[in-house]
């Protein structure tokens, strides 16, 4: 009995160990003295990775789908823009309010929406995302309309958070924290319940899992992840436009999750890195960059159908795909 307990503990620690190389890379990269451009790219990778991890919890572990997750990113982003500018709320509080607002919206909207399944759930979340994007684009008095609005700087105890290198550290640490939380969730009874729901909702219900409540909970959690990422995004750029919560951005998030590997937290980072870095690297192709992007996306999915990280892991450990 104790032996089993020890093994369980070791396994859990083992999962979190996967974050150590990541933390090492994070510490190592700045030693290469990158310019503000590279810091910015890295910060963007981490920021989108946070949103992807959240979406992965929903899609990869709970087996749901959301084609409107950028809407939550938009909520977080606009909260941190509108709070200081229109309501006089300091940026840090606006950040927290944005996260709480996203959680609330996810809670209210999630209950009815999550009763739908498969493609129907997809179109419902799509509609939700589109609705939010339209609100952000039209309520110009609050949001600055389709041109967007500037976002005030965040100051932490009189220390202004500006500069790509500062944001690199903020986003890297936030990503590591959120990945840790996600991994802990996955290995908890809740996580196991979610995986049961993904495999078969009916079977899960039979063994006593409160399916509706668990799905709603993970939807809310993933919404908060997206909101945090959205807030960081707005603060990093100092500017926000309604496209940040649009349909194309939602699809990009889904692509990050699927390309990196559904059900893999490190996969979310890889997916995010791929879709942030690739457009930069592909400028080499000039006019052909979109064709190249489409080809690469298709090829990755054709040759690594479970996503990059799971497929590579399977290949390296000699298992059949």
């Amino acid at each position: 009995m104790l032996a089993r307990f020890h093994r369980f503990r070791l396994w859990q620690r083992h999962r979190l160990i996967s974050l150590v190389p990541l933390a090492a890379i994070t510490l190592f990269l700045p030693l290469l003295s990158p310019s503000a451009y590279y810091y910015r790219i890295a910060a963007l990778v981490f920021i989108f990775a946070i949103a992807s991890v959240g979406l992965n919890l929903l899609m990869g572990f709970a087996g749901q789908v959301s084609l409107g997750h950028a809407g939550f990113m938009g909520l977080g982003a606009y909260a941190v823009a509108i709070g200081p500018a229109q309501l006089g709320i300091p940026p840090l509080f606006s950040f927290a309010i944005g996260a709480m607002l996203s959680a609330l919206v996810a809670f209210v909207v999630g209950r009815p929406i999550l009763r739908l399944k498969g493609h129907y759930l997809a179109v419902a979340t799509l509609g939700f995302g589109v609705l939010l994007a339209i609100v952000f684009a039209n309520e110009a008095n609050w949001t600055g309309g389709p041109d967007g609005m500037t976002v005030a700087q965040l100051t932490l105890l009189n220390w202004p958070l500006r500069g790509a290198d500062t944001w690199y550290w903020v986003s890297a640490i936030s990503f590591l924290v959120s990945a840790t939380l996600a991994l802990n969730l996955i290995d908890s009874p809740t996580g196991r319940a979610l995986r049961a729901i993904r495999d078969s909702e009916i079977a899960a219900r039979v063994i006593g899992v409160d399916v509706a409540q668990k799905k709603l909970m993970i939807f809310v959690v993933s919404a908060v992840y997206a909101s945090v990422a959205g807030s960081y995004f707005a603060l990093l750029n100092g500017y926000i436009t309604p496209d940040a919560s649009g349909f194309l951005r939602s699809i990009e998030l889904v692509a990050m999750v699927v390309l990196g590997g559904m059900g893999s937290v490190t996969g979310s980072l890889v997916g995010s890195a791929l879709l942030v870095i690739l457009p930069q690297a592909l400028t080499f192709f000039h006019d052909y960059e979109h064709m190249a992007l489409g080809l690469i996306t298709m090829s990755v999915m054709i040759f690594m159908p479970r996503g990059i990280v799971p497929s590579l892991a399977a290949a390296l450990s000699g298992r059949a795909k």
Binding site: Y120, V123, A124
Partner: protein, 290 residues
């Protein structure tokens, strides 16, 4: 009264467009459970290819025919090089593949065509048909008629031909179909080709109304997908009804509520319908087996 009638005509015009795009989704989904997000690009290719062949000197009917054949070939390529190679992959993986394909096709269109807007001459002339104080273009009726004809032809094909029966068998149970000797690859390939052809025809019919450019595919795919889900995925009739209803919702929202929020209102109505009927209007209730 004239106002109300005009809103209906506007809704029918836009709805017919969505309906035609939506039908293309249904066929591929039925055969392979894949939601093909590149369907919008097929529509774009039909219109743009016809336009550019027309500029190059071909008479328009011939240009249209070549465009349809070309788009069908593109659909087949998509199947053979992307979908078939990813045999047995997850539904989500296949969706991302079709999204990658749509990015690729858009990127290619960017280079081969140009970035401006183009139109085609309407089939029956410009003069609007006036009725009860409102006006509708004959082309809108042509699009509606096209949708109805295509659905009818599809029904004949699926219900009355042996090949069509094979499609039904494939969509019911692929393994069983294989066991009975049906070559799934041929079936799905043909369905892709047909969907591409339908998309191309849709593109040619709608361009006189909507104008076309290399990136009109994305929004059309989005609306087409919403229309399909409203009508119930898997049903061609549902796709048409869903498309027309979506167009009507948008027109009435624009007329009576707020044009800025019409897309949002339309989606809300779709959501309301889905909550009441989770399989869409004409969708078959699925049995979930444990």
């Amino acid at each position: 009264m004239a106002e109300f009638l005009q809103f209906i005509f506007s809704g029918l015009t836009v709805g017919a467009i969505y309906a035609l795009v939506a039908i293309g989704f249904t066929l591929i989904y039925n055969a392979s459970d894949v939601v093909n997000f590149a369907q919008g690009e097929f529509v774009m290719l039909g219109g743009m290819t016809t336009v550019f062949l027309g500029y190059a000197g071909l008479p328009l009917p011939l240009a249209a025919l070549v465009a349809i054949l070309f788009t069908t070939a593109v659909g087949l390529f998509l199947y053979y090089f992307a979908i078939k190679t990813a045999r047995g992959a997850d539904a989500v993986t296949l969706i991302i593949i079709t999204i990658g394909a749509s990015i690729f096709l858009r990127g290619a269109a960017e280079i081969v065509f140009d970035k401006r807007f183009h139109s085609l001459p309407p089939l029956f002339g410009d003069a609007p048909i006036r009725f009860g104080g409102a006006a509708i273009l004959p082309q809108s009726l042509a699009v509606l008629a096209g949708a109805v004809v295509i659905v009818a032809l599809l029904w004949v094909f699926i219900d009355r031909t042996l090949f069509g029966k094979a499609v039904i068998a494939t969509s019911a149970n692929r393994t069983a179909a294989r066991l009975v000797g049906i070559d799934i690859r041929v079936i799905v390939g043909v369905c892709f080709a047909l969907s591409a052809a339908i998309g191309a025809v849709a593109g040619i019919l709608i361009t006189p109304i909507t104008l076309t450019s290399y990136n009109t595919g994305t929004l059309l795919a989005l609306k087409g997908f919403a229309a399909v889900m409203l009508g119930g995925i898997g049903s061609a009739l549902g796709a048409v009804v869903g498309g027309v209803l979506l167009g009507l919702f948008e027109a009435f929202a624009a007329g009576y509520i707020s044009a800025e929020y019409k897309d949002a209102v339309a989606f809300l109505v779709i959501l309301a319908v889905l909550f009441a009927m989770p399989q869409g209007l004409f969708g078959k209730a699925t049995v979930e087996r444990v």
